[in-house]
Amino acid sequence: MDLDTVKERAGPRQFSPDDDMPREYREAATRMIQFHANSEIMGAYLERPFIREAPSLDRKLAYSAKTQDELGHGQLLYRAAESLGIKTREQMLNELANGEGKFLNCFHYPMESWVETPMIAFFVDGAAMRRQATLKRTSWEPYAHAMDKVVFEEGFHIKHGESILKELATGSKKEQEMVQDAFETWWPRIIQFFGPTDDDSTHHDFSAEVGLKQMTNDELRQSFLNQYLPKAEKYGLEIPDTPTIEQDEDGNYRVAEDELDWEEFFQIAKNEYDPGRGQIDSRKRAHDAVEWVRETLDEYETTASGHAPQAAD
C-alpha cells in the first residue's frame, strides 16, 4: 500500500497485519507503541516499592494488582508493536534496559513517599487515560485492540488512585499538608505530560494523517484540565501558581507554557536527566542479574528439541 492510499483510507482500526503497510507507517506506529509499552513497564517499576509500603492490606493488594496489570499492558503492547514487523519484543526490551528506549516524562522522577502515589495513580494515569481513550480509534488495529483491555483496567487504577488521594486529603492535617506538597512538586510535570504545544511536536502531523493519533496534544491537555482541575479542587488541593492557567471566554484553558522547565523536559526525552537515569540504570542491573535465567531457558528449549517445552509461565 502506498502512503497516499494509507492517508486516504486512514480511519479507526483500519489497518492490520494482513495489510501491506509502507515502512514509514510501520516505523511511526512502532515508535508510538514501543514508547507506550516502555512507559507501562517503567511506571510499574517506579510504583513497585509502594506495594511493600502500602499502609493497609487492601491497599497492598490493590497496588500489587496494579503493577501486575501494567506489566500485562506492556506485554500486550509489545505484541502490538511486534506485529508491525520492525522490531522484536526482545529488541525493544533490550533497548529499554540499555537506556535507548523512551518513555513518559513523569516516570523519570523518583518517588519517595506514599503521599506521592496518587500523583501517578490518579493524575498521571488520568492524563494517560485521556490519550488512551482516543487510541481505541487508532488506525493500527492490534494497538486499538490492546487499548480495549488497557483502558478498561486503567479505569480501576484511577479509581484506586482517587481513593488514595481522598484518604490523604481528608486525613490528618499532616497528611493534607504532605499531599499538597507532593501535588506542588508533581503538577508542572503532569502538565508537561502532554508535551509542548502542537507547533513544536515533530511526529504529530504524520501520525495524525495516517490515523495513528486521534487528537492533538493541545486537545488532550484541554480535556485533562477540564476534568482534573475540578477534581483537584474537590479534594481541597490548591492549584500551584506555576504555570499560570487562565480560562478564556469559551471556557478553554490557557497554560503559560513558557513558565515550565522545557530544558529538563527535553533532557528527560533523551534519557539524560540524572534521577531518571538512576531509574533506568537500577532497572538495568535488575534486568542483567536475571540474564542467566533467560540463557538457561534458551538452553532448555534447544536441548528439549523433539517435544514442546512446558509452559513455565
Partner: protein
C-alpha cells in the same frame, strides 16, 4: 477416625479452644503475609514479562489468603492495626523461610522457596479441610485451587532451570541453603497439642513433615538435585542440628525480619496512622 465434635463460632469458644484457634491462624496468616510481601520484590524484576506476571499473581494469591486468615482473627476482636501495623514484630509467628531476603537476580531462590512453601501449604490445607472450626473449614476451599497452580508453576520452573549448568548449580545452592528453613514450617509450639486434640487440624505437623520430606526429596532427586532427608526421631521430630538458628514459629526471627517489618510499616508510621483502609467486604459480614 470419628469426626471431632464441631467447635462453635468465635464468640462461644472457651479459653483453651480460642487460644488454639488463634495460634493456628496467626501462623497461617503471618506465613502468607510475609512470603507474599517478599515475592513482591520480584515484581517488575523477574526474568521475563511472563514470569513477572506469574510471580505477581502468586504474591497476590498469598496476600489474599493472609487477608482471609487475618479476617478470622478479627472475629476475636483484633483489628488490622493490631494484627499487622502496630504489632511487635517479635510476635509474628511465620516460619523464617518466609522472611529471608532474595539476593539480586537469584531467581532459583524464588522458585525453590515457592516449591518448598507450596508443597507444605498443600499438606497444611488438606489437614484443615475437615477442621472442627467451621470458619477455617469454609475458607480452605477458596485457597486450595490456587495453591495447586503455584505448585505446578514452581515444578515447571525447577525442571527448566536444571536444564542448564548454571541453573542446576543455582538450584542446588538454593536447595542446600533453604532446606533447613523449610523444615521450620512444621515446627511445633506448645499450642500444637491442643490444636490436634481439638480437631482444628486433622494431621500433626510431624506427620505432614514426613510426607513433605518424602515428596520434595523424591522430586529433587528425580531432576538431578541432591537432597538428603534429615535425621528424625521415632516421633518424626527433626533434630535441632538440622534446623537453622532461627525458627520463627515461636517469634524467634532473623535480623532480616526487623528490617523488613520497618519497611512494611514505613508509610503507616510516617503518616502517624491509627487505622488501616478497608476496600473489600469481609465475606462473613452481612
Amino acid at each position: 477416625m470419628a469426626a471431632t465434635e464441631s467447635l462453635s463460632g468465635p464468640n462461644d469458644l472457651d479459653d483453651r479452644e480460642r487460644a488454639a484457634v488463634e495460634s493456628l491462624l496467626y501462623r497461617l496468616a503471618d506465613d502468607e503475609f510475609v512470603i507474599a510481601d517478599r515475592y513482591t520484590d520480584w515484581q517488575v524484576r523477574a526474568p521475563t514479562v511472563e514470569s513477572d506476571i506469574a510471580i505477581a499473581n502468586i504474591a497476590q494469591d498469598e496476600l489474599g489468603h493472609a487477608r482471609l486468615w487475618y479476617d478470622l482473627l478479627e472475629d476475636f476482636g483484633h483489628t488490622e492495626p493490631e494484627l499487622i501495623w502496630e504489632r511487635d514484630p517479635e510476635t509474628f509467628r511465620h516460619s523464617t523461610l518466609c522472611e529471608l531476603p532474595f539476593a539480586e537476580g537469584d531467581w532459583a531462590d524464588a522458585i525453590v522457596r515457592s516449591y518448598f512453601y507450596d508443597e507444605a501449604e498443600h499438606l497444611r490445607l488438606e489437614a484443615l479441610e475437615e477442621s472442627s472450626y467451621p470458619r477455617i473449614r469454609d475458607r480452605v476451599g477458596k485457597i486450595v485451587g490456587e495453591e495447586g497452580y503455584h505448585r505446578e508453576h514452581a515444578e515447571n520452573w525447577l525442571r527448566r532451570l536444571v536444564g542448564g549448568d548454571e541453573g542446576r548449580e543455582r538450584v542446588q545452592e538454593a536447595v542446600d541453603r533453604l532446606f533447613p528453613y523449610a523444615l521450620t514450617l512444621f515446627e511445633e509450639t506448645e499450642e500444637d497439642a491442643a490444636i490436634d486434640d481439638l480437631g482444628i487440624r486433622t494431621r500433626s505437623p510431624s506427620a505432614m513433615r514426613a510426607e513433605w520430606i518424602e515428596t520434595v526429596t523424591g522430586m529433587l532427586t528425580e531432576i538431578g538435585i541432591d537432597a538428603r532427608a534429615p535425621a528424625t526421631d521415632e516421633d518424626g521430630r527433626v533434630s535441632t542440628d538440622e534446623l537453622p538458628d532461627h525458627v520463627g514459629r515461636g517469634g524467634d526471627h532473623t535480623d532480616h525480619w526487623a528490617t523488613h517489618y520497618d519497611e512494611i510499616t514505613n508509610t503507616y508510621d510516617e503518616l502517624g496512622r491509627d487505622h488501616a483502609a478497608r476496600l473489600m467486604e469481609d465475606p462473613d459480614d452481612e
